[in-house]
């Protein structure tokens, strides 16, 4: 009898351990999600440059689990990491998908933001 009990406990433990596919990040209440949403509400998703192919900033979709981006420029102090706040949502707000006024990529680009491609996280 005790062998059966031990076997049953072992099976239950193994099944529980197997059901947990991966360890989750330490954000049980979604605080980072709320912060990202609040930050994305009052700052643009794009920089000051348009993409050369489209004439406006290009949103590069990254996984919604991505949270940082890297910029490169001349000099060590210009290589910076920024959080990716913006995420695609359902409905469009103003100004819609109209063209804004942006700079073109310089003839000699000196920063990765000057290419007009900016990360936006995909929807959940």
């Amino acid at each position: 009898m005790i062998h059966r009990i031990i076997l049953a406990v072992g099976l239950v433990t193994a099944s529980i351990a197997a059901s947990q596919t991966s360890a989750t990040a330490g954000d049980p209440y979604g605080m980072a999600q709320v912060w990202s949403y609040n930050f994305s509400m009052n700052r643009p998703w794009h920089g000051n440059y348009y993409n050369q192919m489209y004439g406006q900033p290009l949103a590069l979709i990254v996984p919604p689990t991505a949270h940082m981006r890297q910029t490169y420029s001349w000099g060590v102090s210009q290589n910076l990491m920024y959080p990716i706040h913006h995420q695609f949502g359902r409905s469009a707000n103003s100004p819609g998908a109209a063209r804004g006024r942006f700079y073109g990529t310089p003839k000699w680009p000196s920063h990765t933001d000057q290419f007009g491609t900016y990360y936006v996280r995909g929807p959940w």
Binding site: S40, T65, F88, N93, P123
Partner: protein, 151 residues
């Protein structure tokens, strides 16, 4: 003897049925009208809470699009087809099966999709799991964790 008893019983039963039919035909009309709501109640559906109160069913739009959010944008981006709305003479491309949306392929997760049909009397539920291919992921882990020269 038994057949005679059965025939008596049959005659008595016929008499009773005939009397009952004539009695119900003699009933006044207002009593017939009172029976009408009972007939309607018998036609109601199981899910109905009360007559006059309709149950709401979700009708999610299949062809929604995703846009960038925020109040400080000078231009918004459309996710399908990125980054701008295409002109009307181009035509559109739709994903008609929601589990095959490409943005679900970006990260491992599980999702459920619900679709109500037949005025809410039916619901189709689809459960989708998105995960890394196990064999390829295992091979990749072996390469990156054991075989690769760290440099």
């Amino acid at each position: 003897m038994k057949i005679r008893t059965l025939s008596y019983a049959w005659v008595a039963l016929t008499l009773c049925v005939t009397l009952a039919a004539t009695a119900s035909a003699d009933q006044p009309a207002n009593q017939v009208e009172e029976n009408v709501p009972a007939v309607v109640a018998a036609d109601s559906y199981v899910g109905d809470v009360a007559p006059g109160i309709q149950r709401g069913y979700g009708q999610p739009d299949l062809f929604y699009n995703f846009y960038t959010q925020g109040a400080a944008n000078r231009a918004n981006a459309q996710m399908y087809l990125s980054p701008m709305p295409i002109p009307p003479n181009v035509g559109h491309t739709f994903y008609t099966y929601q589990p095959f949306y490409p943005h679900h392929m970006l990260y491992p997760h599980q999702n459920r999709f619900h679709r109500h049909y037949d005025c809410g009397r039916g619901m189709n539920r689809t459960r989708a799991s998105y995960y890394y291919p196990p064999v390829r992921q295992t091979a990749s882990n072996v390469y990156w964790n054991f075989l690769r020269i760290p440099r």
